[in-house]
């Protein structure tokens, strides 16, 4: 693809670069990109277009400072939701590659970013629900579960995904985690009544595997190890809060079941 001419690049205003970088940061963090990668990315993109960019990325906000053409613009991007979407990340990767090589104008790139943001998931909903069941099945099998436990784990994994689909909208992430943990624990308790030989704690953990914050914990330490202390600490806190939310959700149901048992229900 042909590069844009130098005259076109010289006419690029700091404002249009800032608009593009803000949209890029938003998509990158919302797709699960680490803070240090986002900071490196915006610095490189700025340099490619003849600007000096400083950035501080956190899971909840990105601070940008763009200097060049006799101007300085400081901006803040506030982020309320973040998850892992590897398909969008791959599309974003292709786009920023073209922008870095100056093969695409910034205005066009902003429009393409909006398209990426509106991109539907690559898999239909039923497949994601079944995959949730499959991941729970695999985890329980890997930790020694056999026979009916595997069937039960598959059921709980699908329950987890359905519950997330029902509750996880907007900024209700922790509430969705809490309700999902309650639903999975309730279903695990019901399955344990139907099949008394199953290991209920293993089933609950298997069912909640896509929610337990192991990956967030790893990302947090990864960021701390790269001297991104604020971002790492924020992710560490997220992991702790998620683990506590899940534990309380499960404990609420098991506590209730314990009282029913005491009253011979």
């Amino acid at each position: 693809m042909a590069n844009l001419s130098d005259t076109v690049i010289e006419k690029v205003s700091p404002r249009s670069l800032v608009d593009f970088l803000m949209a890029t940061c938003r998509v990158a963090i919302e797709c699960g990109c680490s803070s240090n990668r986002v900071e490196l990315l915006v610095t490189r993109l700025g340099e490619a277009w003849g600007f000096s960019v400083d950035a501080a990325a956190l899971p909840t906000a990105v601070f940008l400072s763009v200097r060049g053409r006799g101007q300085q613009i400081n901006e803040l991007v506030r982020l309320n939701k973040w998850s892992i979407d590897l398909n969008k990340l791959a599309l974003l990767n292709d786009l920023v590659d073209q922008v870095e090589k100056r093969e695409m104008a910034l205005d066009e790139a902003v429009l393409k970013l909006q398209d990426i943001n509106r991109q539907p998931p690559p898999y239909p909903l039923f497949m994601t629900v079944l995959a949730g069941g499959g991941s729970s099945f695999a985890l329980v099998a890997a930790s020694g579960g056999r026979g009916v436990e595997l069937i039960a784990a598959f059921i709980l994994g699908t329950v987890c995904q359905i519950s997330l689909g029902l509750f996880a909208e907007g900024n209700r992430k922790y509430l969705a985690d809490f309700f999902t943990a309650m639903m999975v624990a309730g279903c695990a308790a019901a399955l344990a009544i139907a099949w008394p030989n199953v290991n209920m704690p293993r089933l609950i953990i298997g069912g909640l595997i896509s929610l337990v914050p192991g990956l967030v914990f790893v990302n947090a330490l990864h960021e701390v190890a790269q001297k991104n202390l604020v971002s790492g600490a924020a992710r560490l806190l997220e992991a702790v809060v998620t683990a506590i939310t899940l534990t309380f959700g499960v404990a609420a149901v098991l506590g209730f079941a314990h009282y029913l048992q005491r009253w011979n229900w």
Binding site: M127, F137, A138, P213, Q226, A251
Partner: protein, 143 residues
Amino acid sequence: MLSGITLFDLVIAAVGGACFGIVFRIPPRYFLHATVLAMIARLGASLIGASTHVGFATFVSAFIVGATSHVFARATGKPAQAFLIPGVMFLVPGTSLYKAFSGALSADYQSAMALLVQAIIVTASISFALLLANWVVPSKRTL
């Protein structure tokens, strides 16, 4: 059967990798890569973990998975993270972390502390293994 690893274990790892790939919306054409990395993670953790400390086994497995995901990223021109996340899911200590909080809630503080320390050791092993893999096989792309 290879030192405690059966074909069933590898099939389970492949199924897990594929399912995590769908849950995390990996681009469909890189499905096989995620499956292979999950199998490598499971094989590595089981083979090395049979004779050494879980932290070291996790470190070696995570390093292999990290390095392989960077090789895949270089070959396909996609971000290494797209391959790494489904692959590394079998190594992350989510279960230990959950059990630690669960133990603390039921006032079993001793086992909760032991599980938390184990989770921290495993997590630190993965983090530093991924940093090392990034250094040994550096990315061509920023993302």
